[in-house]
Amino acid sequence: MSAIVSLRHVSKSYSRGQQRVPVLIDLSFEIAEGEFLALMGPSGSGKSTLLNLIAGIDQPDTGELIVAGENIATLPERALADWRARTIGFIFQFYNLMPVLSALENVELPLLLTDLSRRERLARARLALDMVGLSDRLDHKPTELSGGQQQRVAIARALVTDARLIVADEPTGDLDRDSASEILAMLQQLNRELNKTIIMVTHDARAAAQASAIMHLEKGALLEREALDSPAP
């Protein structure tokens, strides 16, 4: 399988007062298309920063970062925004839905950046919500949905643009055990049935066990990459 993500000597540091604090140090690796990768590591290991770089919402200090065939480290802001809209589906820990919009409108939101007509947008949004089992909650606002349901709306929002790469930052971190299992099963289904590449940051070993590979980071360096032959059911 070809690589959808390719990092070559990527480094990233942050300023803290006068000091530069390295977060990622000379990372080089690839992620194959269709992979479900779990990023694990202790707090401060740089896993969320790595995810942000791959998703194009942050820029590396040095190195080459090619995602979906585009060297995003060199893209200007406007082009990077367009690229994200086309390529990336986001799933956040706290769902990040627009509270004033219904589930259907939230899912329709990324499609506003396409040329689709309103009718087409709504048809796609309904289909995406149907795929996550929320076809009976179209008009519900986020506050009228449970945490698990909100995360499913967020998954539908990530799916609706047919993004090649889905990035999930602790997608089960705010959910109870049953809801977390549901969401992980859904991600697994997306990966297997729709061949979506998923990169998931998690602290939870049980959640990571659902992935096809686990990458361990520590102090900004790649510690280990572990392939899981048969993810846990």
């Binding site: 919402i57 809209a85 950046l113």
Partner: protein, 385 residues
């Protein structure tokens, strides 16, 4: 359409906050409009003055009269089409608080020079025939219930005694700007009484009004008029009617300036309040804006969201303020009585209200919109409202 829907939903998100902000804007825009109307009323006399009329008065002060003998000399000046004269009467109707302007006028000529006072031919003739006759403005008649045939007694302050007048006509204004709060009586009647009681004050005139052919020659004719009486016992000062009226306004210029300043201050205060509200709102929604940017929305979309919300608030509050101005101004004008003889809301005041509301909407949104548009996505996603 989606942008508009999102703007509207965001506007109604915190209903109490929205209601209070709209209420603030409503009060500010209304107060601005009312204060501007008051300023306008102050200048109404000058604004409505005819450019074809000059006023000649005593050069020392308006308090000092001019001899009646000046009139033919003024009438003979090249470019002067007609002349008339008038005296400030200054009587009290029942109580001193019932103030309204009273002028003793030359009944044969006065109304010819003031075509904006609409008086029927019959009423004018009836007024001219009766030396004790009077003509009152429509607003004044409505205020005190004067009807044709009524006797009105004024207690003279400048011209001593109790003076009885019979209302012979009620004049209307040509438009809303015309002062219909005045009371006109016969100069001849006052003069005859003066001849008998205080002869030294007879045959004297407060002001002459000159109608000129060409308003562009106003300065030249004024100079010529004043030259005629140079080094006489009663030197004159001739000026355009507008300059004459502005002379009165200048006596209270500080008050007018204060009112004007307060009207703009009210707008500045609501601008600060609105900017604060929007900043607070934008800060609370930092994570939403970061999410929108992460999804691929351009900073311009976020600017449009905040600007749209701000303009919606401003237009609702401003619109309500504009709608309320007409009835409130009418009630205010009535309550003020003769203090503001001409009190009406001009289209320019309504336009200024709209401009102020829009300006508040735009300016208040600039800082929060720019700040939200520049939000760093990573930091914004971590933001806790």
């Amino acid at each position: 359409m989606v942008l508009l829907r999102l703007i509207l939903k965001n506007t109604l998100r915190h209903r109490l906050r929205t209601a209070l902000t709209v209420a603030g804007l409503f009060v500010a825009v209304l107060a601005f409009g009312l204060l501007q109307t008051v300023v306008g009323a102050w200048y109404a006399g000058a604004e409505n003055a005819s450019s074809a009329r000059l006023v000649t008065r005593n050069a020392i002060s308006l308090v000092f009269p001019l001899p009646l003998t000046y009139r033919p000399k003024l009438a003979a000046i090249d470019g002067v089409r007609a002349t008339t004269h008038a005296n400030w009467f200054g009587g009290i109707y029942k109580e001193a608080k019932n103030f309204f302007p009273q002028f003793a006028v030359d009944t044969e000529t006065y109304f010819k020079l003031y075509p904006e006072y609409l008086l029927s031919e019959d009423a004018l003739r009836s007024f001219q025939r009766d030396r004790r006759g009077a003509v009152v403005g429509r607003k004044l008649a409505e205020r005190y219930g004067f009807k044709v045939g009524d006797t009105v007694t004024l207690k003279g302050t400048i011209f001593p005694g109790n003076w009885e007048f019979i209302v012979r006509g009620i004049y209307d204004g040509r438009d809303a700007k015309t002062d219909t709060n005045q009371f006109f009586l016969h100069w001849n009647y006052v003069n005859e009484v003066m001849k008998k009681t205080i002869p030294r004050r007879a045959n004297s005139v407060g002001v002459y009004v000159l109608e000129i052919d060409d308003p562009s020659r106003a300065a030249q004719i004024s100079l010529e008029a004043d030259r005629l009486f140079k080094n006489s016992q009663a030197e004159t000062l001739t000026e355009t009617e507008q300059a004459f009226q502005l002379g009165f306004v200048s006596m209270t210029e500080a008050i007018v300036m204060a009112i004007r300043a307060v009207s703009y201050l009210v707008i500045l205060i609501i601008l600060a309040v609105m900017a604060n509200t929007l900043s607070m709102t934008a800060r609370e929604r930092t994570r939403e804006y970061a999410t929108l940017k992460a999804l691929g929305f351009a900073p311009g979309f976020i600017v449009a969201l905040i600007m749209g919300e701000s303009l919606t608030l401003a237009l609702i509050g401003g619109g309500l303020g504009m709608a309320a101005l007409l009835p409130i101004a009418q009630a205010f004008g009535t309550a003020m009585g003769s203090l503001f003889p001409v009190f009406y809301v001009s289209s320019s005041t309504l336009f200024a209200q709209l401009v102020c509301a829009l300006a508040v909407g735009v300016i208040a949104a600039i800082a929060p919109a720019v700040s939200a548009a520049r939000v760093n996505i990573v930091n914004g996603l971590r933001h806790v409202a």
